[in-house]
Amino acid sequence: MTLEPSVSVSASPIVEVKNVSKWFGPLMALNGISLDINPGITGLVGPNGAGKTTLLRLLTGQSKPSIGGIRICENNAWSAKAKSHVGFCPYGDAAWDEMPGRKAVRVSAGLHGFKGDEARHRTETVLDIVGMADRAHRPIRTYSKGMRQRIKLGQALIHDPDLLVLDEPLNGIDPVGRDELNELFIRLAQDGKAVLISSHILNEMDQLADHIIFVCRGKLLASGSLETIRDLLDDYPLKVRVSCETPRRVASLLMELDSVKSVRIETSDDLFLEVQNPNRFYGEFAEFVLSKNVDIRGLKATDTSAEPIFDYLMERSSKPG
């Protein structure tokens, strides 16, 4: 990023959330959440209604926690100073369909107090970063979902924030656009920014995030690196589809593996396995393929959507001990 940074990055975490709870009347949207967010990509994962949006609103200073505190670069999250460190890319479009993309980004510059040449320079720089410089003259209504997302990203980046908060940025984006956006997020993280991406699809975060935060029903279920999360999911019963040429033979051989609970032949090419310990299974499966000399065309986990994993984690967290 070639913009003059609006702030200096300190050594402490960019975001510090301490014991935060949030009530809406009788509804407890967040319950005693504590976490830190550092530079890099952090995935905030949870099913719909988990409290992700509430947490994002608190982080972006749109509302205050009922209990606890949130500090952004050592400032209270709802202070104007903290907001100058945060770039927010909301889920919805801001109803500016008739406005050209360039103007929409320019408005964001104005809202952060940039004027004249400075605003123009920042606008062109971020349009370049998000890859929209050549298409920014067109009205937003003519954009694809991915292009709209890029413009929103440009609006969020205009003041060169340390923390970039993205609410479901990959929702409804086609695979090509998704890859392009992912590359952009990685680039921004490499520039030293903390990029917080919310999603209800765990797979989206798998190759993107350095750190995952799981929330469900307002509680923090798990937080850590992907490895940490995988360790937590050791006993998670995973369903896997195996594509091969000789399913009957492969099925009988796979039943010998300790991690495989059941095998079902679905079509002439596909087997469905239920495995008990995904980490161990993948290791055993690699050895199995090499040693048994079987022709495997594909291997895919079929139920890695967030909901069953959350249910599993919820169940696990509610167990005593």
Binding site: E4, S6, F24, L27, A29, T53, T54, R57, T60, G61, Q62, S63, A80, K83, S84, V86, F88, P90, Y91, G92, D93, A94, A95, W96, E98, M99, K103, V107, S108, G110, L111, H112, G113, F114, K115, E118, Q155, H159, V165
Partner: protein, 283 residues
């Protein structure tokens, strides 16, 4: 480097709202209608000025017929009232674009995540509405005032009637503030265009009719129709009554009209504040 004062964010908010309105064809259609009456008045003043030089008696005759074109404060007061009718229609349709869509499509969240507070947001929206009101009522009235002076005995007209400028600006600001607050309050609670148009129509069409009917049927025979308290139900008329004072004309029910307008403004501010606070904390 960015300025540290969030006051500067008011203008981008207002400008964005106005840009969105300016990009609607309906706005330009209604603006053209508003300009028709302006062009007609402009032409009539020009014609009268020409007649005054060529045929003074004819000019005097026409001026006696068209009292609204005599260059007094009433000329501009009535012109602004006429423009206000179109302005009301325009605001009914533009209200959703000016602010309503922010609540239904995430714009409010966008603004609130920036370095601005509810107050700056509300002030930005009020400024947008106010500028639209000024654009249709006050600026054309000022143009007419200067046209009248420049085409006639310039020095004498401006010297004798300079207070009219303050009257035009005062009435314009009154309209901007009160209509702006009311519209923003309604839009905050009712962002969708159709219910908004219906409610707006109810306030500025149904209530005036109701007030006329009630004033007519329930009035005391000794009280002038214009002095009936039922007339206070007509908000637009109240604005006219208070606005007249800026031009040195005191109409009946002046204090009643002030109380009604003040109450409406106070109610609107409260409604805006509570609604925006609610939206800000809504999950």
């Amino acid at each position: 480097m960015a300025t540290s004062l969030a006051w500067f964010s008011i203008w981008p908010i207002a400008r964005t709202a106005m840009l969105l309105v300016f990009r609607r064809k309906l706005f330009w259609l209604l603006f053209a209608v508003a300009m028709l009456s302006f062009i007609f008045t402009f032409g009539a003043i020009y014609l009268l000025a020409t007649l005054k030089q060529e045929l003074p008696q004819m000019a005097r005759f026409i001026t006696s017929m068209l009292k609204d074109l005599d260059g007094s404060g009433t000329t501009y007061l009535n012109f602004m009232k006429l423009q206000g009718t179109v302005m009301m229609i325009l605001l009914a349709f533009a209200g959703s674009v000016l602010a309503g869509n922010d609540h239904s499509r995430g714009g409010f969240m966008f603004y609130m995540s920036r370095r601005i507070s509810l107050v700056y947001y509300a002030l930005g929206k009020l400024l947008a509405i106010g500028l639209l009101v000024l654009l249709i009522t006050t600026i054309p009235a000022l143009v007419l005032f200067f046209e009248y002076g420049l085409l006639g005995d310039m020095a004498e007209y401006f010297r004798e009637n300079f207070q009219i400028v303050f009257g035009i600006i005062g009435y314009g600001l009154l309209l901007s503030l009160s209509i702006g607050l009311l519209l923003l309050a309604l839009v905050s609670w009712m962002p969708r265009p159709v219910p908004l148009v219906i409610l707006w129509g109810g306030l500025f069409v149904f209530l005036p009719i109701l007030s006329s009917v009630l004033a007519e049927t329930l009035r005391d025979s000794e009280v002038n129709l214009e002095e009936s308290s039922w007339r206070l139900l007509d908000l637009w008329n109240n604005l006219y009554i208070v606005g007249s004072k800026f031009f040195g004309v005191e109409l009946p029910l002046f204090y009643g009209a002030i109380i009604v307008i003040f109450t409406v403004c106070l109610f609107s501010i409260t409604a805006i504040f509570f609604r925006l606070r609610y939206l800000q904390h809504q999950s």
